[in-house]
């Protein structure tokens, strides 16, 4: 009897831990099967390609967001959408649609993203400003500067290379998806194989222990905000390439969508738990929900209700997991 209990107990334990570990991927597969079942259009190759195209920019920005949230202490970055839109208008205005100007202008944008991240990081670590307030303030400041810069009506055009990156294909696969895959692989390697990755998990898990281990938590957290600024720049470029219009609101809503994707993907707001692969699964879920609602001809406002419900479900699932 004892042996039986031990056997069933361990099976239950194994099932539970498997479910907890891979819950988001299981949900993604279930959603995929459900979507294919309820809407025949969902499985069409072009539709899947559209979903992936649209997922690329959100996925890229969510990678940086994962780094910030992994660092713990309520870390999040609300300034990402503002950075994305600013990058779009800077590129349009300064390249004027010329390929040869893309690289220098893109480098300026990267510098801009890193500086925004540095400012966010210093505010959070040195001035102890809560991340929500620091990045919210930064978001509004960048918005203000953007409106001064564009005088409300952005001008210019995007170079053909950027348009190719945003909407072109290499064989059957969108270029933006290949880029997302490459960035995801880099992020996974950084988190799992480098000293910085280990330190980040340690700082996020328990900052005091990390401090006692000799890790410089402030530097590590500041780097996460800089990483977020960098990915926001890259995502802004891809999204601008996809739309092809210099708009003051490119990336609007991506700050909350990226946080939602990270939380859905199992990265804990308390820090130190989770990773990038879960986030990418979260991004795919969000984009599939958006797509499915349109394919089912439901009013688009329903997407907010469904997305909100999925976030609450995911968050409550992970809270339960961490408390058991």
């Amino acid at each position: 009897m004892e042996a039986y209990t031990a056997w069933t107990g361990s099976r239950r334990f194994a099932f539970k831990s498997t479910f907890e570990k891979y819950g988001i991927y299981i949900f993604l597969i279930i959603l995929f099967i459900f979507a294919s079942f309820v809407s025949p259009a969902f499985l069409q190759p072009q539709n899947l390609k559209d979903v992936l195209h649209q997922a690329a920019a959100l996925g890229i920005v969510a990678i940086g967001q994962t780094f910030v949230i992994l660092g713990g202490r309520g870390g999040l970055d609300l300034s990402v959408a503002s950075v994305m839109a600013t990058v779009a208008v800077i590129i349009a205005k300064n390249t004027g649609g010329q390929n040869e100007l893309l690289l220098p202008v893109a480098l300026v944008c990267v510098l801009f993203g890193l500086l925004v991240g540095l400012a966010n990081g210093l505010l959070v670590t040195k001035r102890k400003v809560p991340p929500f307030m620091a990045t919210l303030g930064m978001m509004i400041i960048i918005e203000g500067f953007r409106f001064i810069y564009t005088k409300g009506a952005p001008k210019g055009d995007f170079p053909p290379i950027l348009r190719f990156l945003g909407r072109g294909d290499l064989g059957p696969i969108p270029v933006s998806v290949l880029s997302l895959a490459a960035l995801t692989a880099i992020a996974v390697i950084i988190l799992r194989k480098t000293l910085f990755g280990r330190q980040l998990y340690a700082v996020g898990g328990n900052i005091h222990t990390a401090y006692l281990s000799g890790y410089n938590a402030d530097v590590i957290l500041t780097i996460t905000y800089m990483a977020s600024g960098l990915t926001a720049v890259i995502a802004g470029m891809y999204l601008a390439g996809w739309i092809g219009i210099a708009d003051n609101w490119v990336g609007k809503g991506y700050e909350l969508d990226s946080i939602a994707a990270v939380v859905m993907g199992g990265t804990s707001f308390e820090g130190g738990q989770g990773g990038v692969l879960g986030t990418i699964a979260g991004v795919l879920i969000i984009m599939m929900i958006y797509n499915l609602i349109l394919l089912l001809h439901l009013p688009i406002q329903v997407q907010y209700i469904v997305k909100g419900a999925v976030i609450i479900l995911a968050a409550s699932f992970y809270v339960r997991r961490s408390s058991t």
């Binding site: 809407s39 259009a41 969902f42 069409q44 072009q46 539709n47 559209d50 649209q54 349009a92 409106f147 564009t150 005088k151 409300g152 009506a153 952005p154 001008k155 210019g156 055009d157 909407r167 999204l239 996809w242 739309i243 092809g244 219009i245 210099a246 708009d247 003051n248 609101w249 490119v250 609007k252 958006y290 797509n291 349109l294 394919l295 001809h297 009013p299 688009i300 406002q301």
Partner: protein
């Protein structure tokens, strides 16, 4: 002497030609020309004041390029009348009705002789507009009015007309039979809902034109593209026409259609990105403007009010209709390529009256 006379005659001839070329032919609004009722002019003698005037412009926001252009039209026109307008105060409510109520109260406190109000929402700004109106300060509503009639004049272009014209062109392009999708602007926003009402009035007269789906796009190019792409996957070649109530989502939707190789009739407005993409991708298309120049018209109407000159309760500004293909009832005012400017920014609204130095640069 003869040489001098000849020189003077030639000079006068060329001067006359130049003046004739510079003098713009005055345009009149279609809705005015076709209105079966006589326009009732309102007596403004009670508001008559001696210049110079202080005018307040309470703007709902400058959150998109249309609103930025409209805001500039107001400022540029006020600058043209420097002799009459001493000060123009401008506020930006950032789309927040509560902030706009405070902004408008501030303008009254600053002693403005007249308030130009572009209301964030019809209902929220109604009480403050009513109070100011009752105090005897004239209010000229611009682009968006308040719910009650407690204002002096409303400068606008009819959204109902816009919705009707767009749908009429589309239905006639389809020869009264076919499937369309509707991509309106923002759910709940007055202009979007009024354009849908206008469009549905026309649709009811074309029973064989079916709406496959209608989805709001928040007047966003990226939403326009994303939603159009999903609809293409859902309905494929069944889509025979696309009704967009603005060039904003229209510019995104047309790209999704082009990528899918679906060249169907589409509607939009005078946003340069939309006009140039129609031209580039050679789509059958229609555009009717909701002109930003209504900002300048609001200033001119305000000056009439303060000078005691009668004005109508509703002032409809002139608007341009463009088509790449004319239908029985919807014909182009001028060739499409005279309005589409690939060398100009996509976010520019073409039917504007801004002087060069006022264009956003």
């Amino acid at each position: 002497m003869r040489k001098v006379t000849a020189f003077l005659v030639v000079t006068m001839f060329f001067c006359t030609l130049t003046v004739a070329a510079l003098a713009e032919e005055r345009q009149f609004s279609r809705s005015y020309l076709w209105d079966s009722n006589a326009v009732v002019m309102q007596d403004m003698t009670k508001y008559k004041k001696n210049p110079p005037y202080t005018i307040g412009f309470s703007n709902a926001s400058i959150s998109n390029s249309w609103r930025v252009f409209m805001d500039r039209e107001v400022r540029a026109e006020a600058e043209k009348h420097k002799d009459l307008i001493k000060t123009l105060y401008v506020t930006d409510a950032q789309d927040k009705p509560d902030k706009q109520i405070g902004d408008t109260e501030d303008l009254v406190a600053k002693g403005c002789d007249l308030i130009i109000l572009s209301a964030a929402t019809m209902a929220a700004l109604d009480p403050i507009a009513t109070r100011i109106h009752k105090q005897g300060i004239p209010i000229v509503c611009l682009d968006r009015r308040v719910k009650s009639d407690n204002f002096t004049s409303f400068v606008t272009a009819s959204n109902f007309t816009q919705g009707r014209m767009m749908m009429l062109w589309l239905c006639q392009m389809l020869k009264g039979k076919g499937n369309i999708v509707m991509l309106p602007g923002m759910a709940g926003a007055g202009p979007a809902e009024e354009r849908i009402i206008g469009a549905k009035e026309i649709l009811s007269q074309f029973p064989d034109v079916k709406v496959l789906d209608m989805q709001y796009t928040s007047w966003s190019p990226s939403e326009g593209k994303r939603i159009m792409a999903a609809m293409i996957q859902s309905f494929g070649n069944k889509i025979e026409g696309v009704w967009c109530d603005s060039g904003l989502q229209g510019s995104g939707a047309i790209e999704a259609l082009q990528e899918a190789g679906l060249k169907v009739p589409i509607t939009g407005e005078d946003l340069n990105a939309y006009l140039t993409r129609v031209q580039k991708y050679e789509f059958p298309a229609m555009s009717i403007g909701f002109p930003v120049k209504m900002g300048a018209e609001a200033v001119r109407t305000s000056l009439k009010v303060l000078q005691g000159i009668p004005v109508p309760f509703i002032v409809n500004v002139t608007r341009k209709v463009l088509t790449t293909v004319d239908t029985a009832d919807v014909k182009s005012d001028q060739p499409w390529d005279t309005m589409a400017h690939p060398e100009w920014p996509g976010d520019w609204w073409i039917d504007n009256t801004l002087p060069q130095n006022w264009l956003p640069k």
